[in-house]
Amino acid sequence: MNPFHYSKPDTVQAAVDLSSPVSRFIAGGTNLLDLMKENLTRPEHLIDITGLPLADLSETPSGGVMIGALVSNADLAWHPWIQRRYPLLSQAILAGASPQLRNMASTGGNLLQRTRCYYFYDANVPCNKRRPGSGCPARDGLNRMHAIFGASDQCVATHPSDMCVALAALEAVVHVVGRGGARTIEFADFHRLPGDAPERDNQLADDELITAIELPAAGFAEHSHYLKIRDRASYAFALVSVAAALELDGPVIRQARLALGGVAHKPWRDRAVESWLSGQTVSRETFTAAADALLQSAEPLEHNGFKVRLARRAVVRALSDAALVGGQA
């Protein structure tokens, strides 16, 4: 780890004012310090934001929940409001990392974790995400863990978060503050596809700080399910994960949300498939047709073709389990 300057401001404005292109905000530090130990990130200045008043949950006027950026992943997952009203989010968080890491990691930081692509993590090899223009050894290399949707010639990395997959399905809103003031970003727009600038994971500017994540009132608590498929039973990144949420009227689907993890540079949604599902009747045939349609646009690489079939089955299972949660169908 390189030497750096450390400061701990006590207001959001002071934190933002301290930020510069060579600084990083630190909260849980679970990913940032790991990257610094590998010399993949070498900030000259760490701005400790754990003293900022961003550690609470509150109800919003529209009936949703505002989650302070510093709420730990563990506190969020076990919070009674989240367990009762947004069980999909709770399940997704508890499917990720370890209890120790969930005690440390913050809500805001979870959004900003970097890919675990082996080539990104190996400072001795080229990587367009780490050194723009240097090349992507993953595209023709060991790409078993990599993207089957939305990749580019320059980057085939996946976003590692479970929590973000649920937040995508729930259509959360990201609240940020920068030198230019505060703004909100729809979750679907927050993370980027790699395109020709894979070094940028998301839309956040250098001086912008995530202050809160807002959950809309609709939590799909009656019919939702997070399914994660991984190489071992616990504490591993997803090969494929699915956040499925349904609003049912008897056997008829009124609204469907589907987000996939482990398959793209960001949580992957297909609005056409979600729209098609609404009005359909809950059945294995319906869910299989949705999965087939969703996977049609998959573009597997040499070693991750298995993800296409795995994702297809995972979508069917997650939708089926979501439909069954309330004892219907």
Binding site: M1, N2, P3, F4, H5, Y6, V22, I26, G29, T30, L33, D34, K37, R42, E44, H45, L46, D48, T50, A74, W78, A97, S98, P99, Q100, L101, N103, M104, A233, S234, Y235
Partner: protein, 174 residues
């Protein structure tokens, strides 16, 4: 020290004062910003019970309790622990009596080489404080952040299962 660091950064390599309650004792220390809690414990305070296994938060051998919650000391900056109450494996036993979790690990032979054991025990005490594990399955899932390469998992789980109610009776203050 990197040649790319700006002058401001170089001039600021000062030690930061922090106050800790470490295994029940108040400590005032001076730390460099990039010193991890694990390095502070092992290299500066001679508390070598917490182990450096992977140094990347993957193995759990460095697990300690911060304000009663289990964390990876290797991914924690010491400077960010200012004001915290820390308990390491060295602080679990009282003067002449092992912590119930330590006793249960001995009773169930819950280790082979012993390298992961301090982290396993601190993690298990954190698990007891959380109060979310009742079944063997829940214990296994909620202990997944601690690897044992000898594979003593069955005995570790049995030890924890036995000690959980005893730890919770104790008040779970560690």
């Amino acid at each position: 020290m990197s040649a790319t660091l700006s002058e401001t950064t170089q001039a600021s390599f000062v030690r930061h004062p922090i106050r800790l309650t470490l295994n029940g004792q108040a400590r005032e220390l001076q730390v460099l910003p990039w010193t991890t809690l694990l390095d502070l414990l092992r290299e500066q305070l001679d508390l070598v019970g917490s182990k450096k296994g992977c140094d990347h938060g993957q193995c759990g051998a460095c697990t300690v309790l911060r304000d009663g919650k289990r964390i990876n000391a290797c991914l924690t900056l010491a400077v960010m622990c200012d004001g915290a109450e820390l308990t390491t494996i060295e602080g679990l036993a009282s003067a002449d009596q092992l912590h119930p979790m330590q006793q249960a690990f001995i009773k169930h032979d819950a280790f082979q080489c012993g390298y992961c054991t301090p982290g396993q025990i601190c993690s298990a005490v954190g698990l007891a404080n959380e109060g979310r594990a009742q079944t063997k399955g829940q214990i296994s899932e909620l202990m997944s952040g601690n690897l044992c390469r000898c594979g003593a998992y069955n005995n570790i789980r049995d030890a924890i299962e036995e000690a959980l109610p005893l730890c919770q009776q104790q008040g779970g203050d560690q």
